[in-house]
Symmetry: C2
Subunit: 413 residues, 2 copies
């Protein structure tokens, strides 16, 4: 069985390394005499690299080589990854990928193409790095009706929040530290603004509930604007702030999905214990109750571990498709986050504290004010009773003499 | 596709219920028009039970019915489960089981029989209840060389230890509470003395390292004899006491395996956070690093969820075997626990504290004494530097004027 890798970046070179390092065990588990890496496609050359001789620049060489049965796509992004993957599937090659954007945006289309051409399209590496989650969700929990999936799906933001909470490090310094450690890109917006987590929860929602959820259908909020005061107020409530991605099945058959920083109660809640660059995904099924999958959500070898597991699975099922698909989405399938009901944590700037308190209690009956030491004299923080998301936003926008600094849900994990 | 259940106890009746409750989704995922439960074998009758009409008493009816392609064994224990399962495999029926004793003792033999007759023998429910662990270990982590597996594999003992640590409840009362809640049997020795966890770590070791490990080859110690003083001393060290089951691959190709209560550092250690009846399994692979699987380790529907997932998998691969097997074990394959090196926590009774301290420091240079409030005047607790297990035991047995009350390893998770 011969393989090709598309894109020799961090993950692609990890896949090449891992295939070589554990070659005997991998071939045995794939039930193949050998899994031979034949080509690596990249626009660059890699002089001196151990796999230098395999590097080619023309995609058609791979496409037209009938000996290449499995292709690993590790380019990332939509173009040209989508065209390449579609062409490979149509040429009867199985494809595995770690590209969450590709799966979140084009997953339905590519799974259909795989079905039509009787090949596999697998993507264990697209969510949670090396954490096994795609296969457990689609196979091990197959006897369950899943009601919700909640995850810490982005390691960069979890690292930043951990620094802020445990080391009282302001956001900007924590972000810089993440960049220095190679956890965040020079342009950190995909991570910090929640887009990366959004793509991943779309994939998990599609698997858990059987229909595609598109990133544009999901309200995604990042962690900018969270201050050390927010962390201190959350601590007062026995909570840690985590960027959660959540998808829930609603009684009417629709799905509610959201990415947002939330206050996560520490008591009896494993997700609140997940620090640094680690990821964790909680799945709730009607039979199994809560199960959690935890590990490094990114990194070269963890992600390569997932990609190579998919390669092994493809090699073992080269004459047969693995079950993993879902229906297409629809505009009305995803309920607006504004319709959710939740408790909200709010921090306001105000001109006159005592007048603001009255306004808050009038607007949010039963709201509880929070006190921390060293709080600014013109800020006010409180937690509401459960209230409709959209109503809370509207009410807050109209509160006289106040300016909303931060609003976060108290998580119902 | 028609099914039979052997044994209509807690798990068996959960399997029947779950097959009915989620029948549409289960059949779709199994790619079958329907999965029909045809027989339930039990020596008892169940008048008034919704599945009463399916109950039969003669195993041969199932064995000789060619329409039954998949059999779920939920009798537990070795006899008659082993004979029944072997007969089914030889008759060309796939078998799924939640019976850890059967897999731990007869797994190699049954997997060989499954191979010879080109059917499947799956056992996701035998370890960790509904937590997906067998399939992730054999498939998702297939690109890794696994170096160790560490688990909290018994919910009953974890419940008891949680009561002791968090509520200062003595062992006997915590055990009684576990029995009242249905977490512990009237005869609790399989749980409390570590045999249950031992069977499970044998199964995980076989999967992770590729050779059968028999329960008789693994030193298993339970949680009897642990006192509230031990919990308090552990707390002083920043540790929780957990009954851990661990299997490690040694550099010489052998395996080291052990079940014992250990002191687990709370800092940076997810296993220390696992309370009550929950289970968690940490797997360390060379590529993926540490991944943790967490959930309810027992209970009717969680375990049934795993059994039904295996039924679905068998139905989808009815004409084809799933890869999951290992070589037979050997006496010299499992290294004696006495050869391990670890730090030890020791609690001694002694006649003369100051003379005992001198003896301890002479026997274990660098040992650190532990102090708690309200300690008994004739007890002494300390932690050693790393020392060979066998040497520690011998030295302790010969320490003049002392009696060893408790010895536990400090876990290297």
């Amino acid at each position: 069985m011969e393989l090709a890798i598309l894109g020799y970046g961090v993950v692609g070179s990890g896949v090449a390394r891992l295939l070589e390092k554990n070659s005997a065990g991998i071939a045995a588990r794939a039930m193949q005499p050998a899994l031979r890496l034949k080509y690596i496609l990249d626009i660059r050359d890699f002089p001196g690299d151990p796999f230098e001789a395999l590097v080619i620049h023309d995609f058609d060489t791979i496409l037209n080589d009938p000996d290449v049965g499995i292709v690993a796509e590790t380019i990332g992004g939509l173009r040209p990854a989508f065209e390449f993957v579609l062409a490979c599937l149509r040429a009867g090659k199985s494809v595995v990928t770690s590209n969450k954007e590709l799966v979140a945006v084009k997953g339905y289309e590519l799974l259909q193409a795989a079905r039509e051409h009787n090949v596999n399209f697998l993507f264990e590496g697209s969510v949670g790095g090396g954490i096994p989650i795609i296969r457990p969700l689609s196979q091990c929990l197959a006897a369950n009706e899943v009601s919700r999936v909640t995850g810490i799906l982005n390691g960069t933001t979890n690292f930043i929040l951990t620094r802020m909470i445990e080391h009282a490090m302001p956001f900007d310094r924590a972000l810089r530290l993440a960049q220095e450690n190679g956890y965040a890109e020079a342009d950190p917006s995909a991570d910090v603004d929640g887009h990366d987590a959004c793509r991943k929860i779309c994939i998990l929602a599609a698997l858990a509930f059987g229909r595609h959820v598109y990133p544009g259908q999901v309200r995604a909020q990042g962690i900018r604007g969270i201050t050390l005061e927010d962390a201190a107020y959350a601590d007062k409530l026995g909570c840690n702030i985590k960027l959660l991605a959540q998808a829930r099945r609603l009684p009417d058959g629709r799905v509610s999905a959201l990415v947002a920083p939330m206050l996560v109660p520490r008591e009896g809640n494993l997700l609140a214990c997940v620090s640094d660059v680690y990821n964790a995904i909680l799945v709730r099924g009607d039979a199994v109750e809560d199960v959690v999958f935890y590990g490094r959500g990114a990194g070269q070898l963890p992600t390569a571990s997932a990609v190579v597991a998919d390669i092994i699975d493809c090699a073992r099922h080269i004459d047969r498709r693995r079950y993993q698909e879902w229906d297409d989405g629809a505009p009305e399938y995803v309920a607006p986050a504004e319709d959710d009901t939740a408790k909200f944590y709010v921090r306001l700037a105000c001109e006159d504290i005592s007048s603001a308190r009255k306004q808050v209690l009038h607007a949010f009956p039963g709201a509880a004010f929070l006190e921390i030491e060293g709080a600014s004299g013109n800020e006010l923080a409180f937690v509401t009773l459960p209230v409709r998301d959209g109503a809370a936003q509207e009410t807050l926008a109209k509160l006289p003499g106040t300016e909303v600094k931060m609003v976060m849900r108290v998580a119902e994990v």
